[in-house]
Amino acid sequence: MSELSELYQQVILDHNKKPRNFRKLESANHSAEGFNPLCGDQLTVYLNLEDDAVKEVSFEGSGCAISKAAASMMTQAIKGKTKQQAEQLFSEFHKMVTGELDEENTQNGLGNLKIFSGVRDFPVRVKCASLPWHTMHAALNKKEQISTE
């Protein structure tokens, strides 16, 4: 169960149970919907962008613990960041969960998002962790709907 406890760390379980910024954002000027048709995960990411910076961010939807926790922690991570910084984090996060980034020995801004590194040992779950990020990326770039397939 060691890989399993790596995947389902307390922080992740906590964010799953009490997701942060889990609501519709009335002031949103950007939003996108993400689907994982494989498992039925569905979420909407709302952004309030002002002067190219993420002033507010929230999400709602339904999904597994990994996708919910990833979405919750993502909203905390990108709030206050510039569009470019958010995109940079997206890229680093994506590389980490697909095993292309050694988050411990390479400089990056992932911080506590590193707890998702365990996901790379569960290839079918990588999409769960990255769906919120893909959706946020789409919202930033104003694509209406994205799918992981």
Binding site: L4, K17, C39, G40, Q42, C64
Partner: protein, 421 residues
């Protein structure tokens, strides 16, 4: 000593008189460990495992008979053709069709339904007509009919179900009318395990002269099927869900209905003669089997049918039923677990959800313990919508599963709840 130990291990289970340990020896895939734990394979509803005799039959074809069918006058082509058509004879006896030519080889139930949609639906269904399906269909028995309705301006009607997952027969009866031109529904629900009263439902449709297609993907592996007794117009199943390789399967149709249909695909093997002005089609079954088929897989399907005939299917069914009963009892006893699909008539499928835990997380944790279940919408999103769940975890049984495996499942489900508590 070794012999004595072996005989103790393989002693028959007292409850069903079915020798599971003996049967398990026929399936090499079951001998492996996953994540250091013995494989507990409970995803038979998606794909069942293949016994050694089926693997051997496929190898024999590839080693000694591989060649194209219906074409060559040479030795290998004749052997391949004999084996392929032999498999068709076995299918015919397996479902009790009148003639072998009524059994059209397809690569699975999805292709079977699409063949009927194109060959029958597009020819005989038009604007204002109605097609009836049920609320518990697999996407394979929804989407083709939607496509047809869209193309022709026909209307899709859906038989609703109750909270247990049983089709409402009164509603079905009232949906049938003179505009109804086709009825298609599943024998057994892949997401709920419900066994539908197909015979009654076929009779009702026939009162209006409407042909009926039965999706048998989840029934053919688990129960004896007699298409003449059912009197269905079409019946389809997938080989890979009944101990044969992927790419095998059949669509049965009454000869007189198949005769009237348009070909599904055009190409080689389905013609009598071709000129640039006109093509005449071959007789059944070739008319509906264009191109080189999955010869090895369909021969494998024939071998899987031989295998099923070699075991006591009545006892096998009783054993599966006992597994379902026992698993239902064990999982229901766990606080927080809810069974989705509680029809009175059920086989082989146990769908469940756990409060506040997504099925995908359940699936990942079970996998770590070597247990294979399906987690998701089971290609039946309308069923998920009906029960207001995004997805379920599904354990689906075959006769090679054991009560001990159900115990491992139940213990691990308890562990899942512990992790998330």
């Amino acid at each position: 000593m070794a012999t004595i130990e072996k005989s103790v291990l393989s002693k028959p289970q007292a409850d069903s008189g079915f020798d599971v340990a003996r049967i398990r020896e026929d399936f090499p895939v079951l001998r492996q460990t996953v994540n250091g734990k013995p494989l507990v394979y409970l995803d038979n509803g998606a794909s069942s495992q293949v016994p050694q005799v089926v693997i051997d039959r496929g190898s024999l074809y590839l080693e000694e008979e591989h060649s194209n069918i219906h074409r060559g006058v040479h030795y290998l082509s004749q052997r391949a053709t004999t084996a392929y058509e032999g498999a068709r004879e076995k299918v015919k006896r397996f479902i009790n069709a009148r003639e072998a030519k009524e059994c059209i080889f397809v690569r699975g139930a999805t292709e079977g339904i699409n063949l009927v949609m194109h060959g029958y639906g597009r020819k005989f269904i038009g604007a204002g007509d109605e097609i009836i399906i049920s609320a518990m269909e697999h996407h394979a028995n929804i989407v083709p009919w939607q496509m047809l309705c869209e193309e022709k301006g026909a209307t899709l009607r859906v038989i609703p179900m109750n909270d247990a997952g049983e089709l409402l027969q009164d509603e079905y009866d009232s949906l049938l009318n003179e505009k109804t031109k086709f009825v298609a529904f599943t024998h057994v629900s892949n997401a709920l395990g419900t066994v539908n009263p197909v015979k009654r439902m076929i009779d009702q449709a026939h009162k209006y002269g409407v042909p009926v297609l039965i999706d048998g993907a989840q029934s053919a592996p688990h129960m004896l099927v007699d298409v003449q007794d059912l009197d269905c117009d079409f019946y389809t199943f997938s080989g890979h869900k009944m101990f044969a390789p992927t790419g095998s399967g059949i669509i049965y149709g009454k000869a007189e209905v198949l005769e009237t249909m348009n070909p599904f695909q055009g190409g080689g093997d389905m013609i009598k003669s071709v000129t640039f002005e006109k093509t005449t089609y071959a007789d059944l079954p070739n008319k509906l089997e264009a191109g080189t088929p999955a010869i090895a897989s369909q021969i494998g399907l024939g071998a899987a049918i031989d295998y099923l005939n070699s075991i006591d299917r009545v006892k096998a069914e009783a054993h599966e039923h006992e597994l379902l009963r026992y698993a239902t009892e064990r999982l229901t006893a766990i606080e927080g677990v809810r069974i989705i699909g509680t029809a009175r008539e059920k086989i082989s499928v146990l769908s469940f959800v756990i409060d506040d835990i997504h099925p995908h997380d359940i699936g990942t944790i079970l996998d770590q313990e070597g247990i294979a279940v399906r987690a998701g919408h089971h290609c039946a999103q309308p069923v998920m919508q009906r029960f207001k769940v995004p997805a379920t975890a599904r354990a689906s049984f075959a006769f090679y599963n054991t009560k001990e495996e159900v115990d491992v499942l139940a213990r691990t489900v308890e562990r899942v709840i512990e992790i998330f508590s």
